[in-house]
Subunit: 245 residues, 2 copies
Amino acid sequence: MNQVIQLLNSHRSIRKFTSQAVEQEQINQYIQAGQAAATSSFIQACTVIQVNHPDTRASLAEWAGNQTYVKDAPRFLVFCADMNRHRISCEMHDSEMLSGFTEQFITATVDCALFAQNVAIAAESEGLGVVYIGGLRNKINHVTDALSLPQLVYPVFGMCLGYPDQDPEVKPRLPLEVVLKQDRYDDSTDAELIATYDQTVRTYYQQRTGGQKEMSWSEQISTMLRKEARPHMLSFLQSRGYLRR
Amino acid sequence: MNQVIQLLNSHRSIRKFTSQAVEQEQINQYIQAGQAAATSSFIQACTVIQVNHPDTRASLAEWAGNQTYVKDAPRFLVFCADMNRHRISCEMHDSEMLSGFTEQFITATVDCALFAQNVAIAAESEGLGVVYIGGLRNKINHVTDALSLPQLVYPVFGMCLGYPDQDPEVKPRLPLEVVLKQDRYDDSTDAELIATYDQTVRTYYQQRTGGQKEMSWSEQISTMLRKEARPHMLSFLQSRGYLRR
């Protein structure tokens, strides 16, 4: 296993950071690495808002469900799926823009995720730690207002960056046989494999929490899926020009 | 710039491969690196179908718009956003599953993209080349049938992998100032910056095609957006249990 693959395999979310600064030059370099990721039909549909202002950071931390590291991390970035610059391009050529297609929502969102993952890896390759913040979607309308996002731009997630001040274990993942299938989707052994994996996750939590928590993966998932998942998202996205057809 | 960031910056799509085999052991390693990516609330919602059967590969190549490398590449993977295993988990605990939320569509799709980008980087770190195949969404219903994908599983994109038999240039990206903004979204200089970038792209194509092609970025984008973007996607995804609310 080469060093790059070792780096990828060593990822864990970091939520506590030292006071060591992350220079703007570093952020710029990570963003450029993000831009180098594949982009569907060359659309380049990701924009990053670097949030520096302490008041905005405090608001974002609260909206994300009181995740204090959103406020306290040396750097905080918001990754936005962006088709505003495509609107500008159409205007430059007096060309009508057909928007609102679900397909465009997918390509812009995927573009953003590929970009962000490159940013995460670039940062981790320099010894930084990161955590993705999906919690921004809790109050996505407030986030949109606070960052003055125009139509056709939506915040997919945020990311905290800094030098780690904690060293959590890597979380065990599902067995390879569950996530990699040959030629066709066959889930006939998945329940059994998940049950075995559940033991691994239970042991992981036991060791990590000194016996305080010991929930299995399938328990966590089934508990989570009893609740509605941010039911405001569809109407919000439609109001911003996405998912209309 | 360290070697990892150099690797990220050197990405270009590879569509022509040597006959050198990519071993199953390598694919397994890349998939495990994919699993190591961040996953929203630990949902692990990506499943990869490795397509080996020549007839299926030929069909996928045709459906993707006659992209012959889908058939000919040493390996071809289909990355699926998957909440079928979450359904199984709920059944294991006799728990009702609330599904169909747009939010779940986002988390599963983003999970898939983060996973795939790790796979791409792992493969590239060993000297392979890759290309993402969004064209699978042209005939997404056929792809779904051919791979026996159940409800709550949808193919986001494919990926060809192999050792490169071509050495294309890295495609120039948008200026940093367009994609990285401070504190709030300000697009007041974007049109100007895009116009400058248009020249860069035009020069890139001129040099690459010996003067045959010289379309700018904004021209490409405005031409593309005059057409409908896979208008079947919304109803297809709804029929598979996604984007219903």
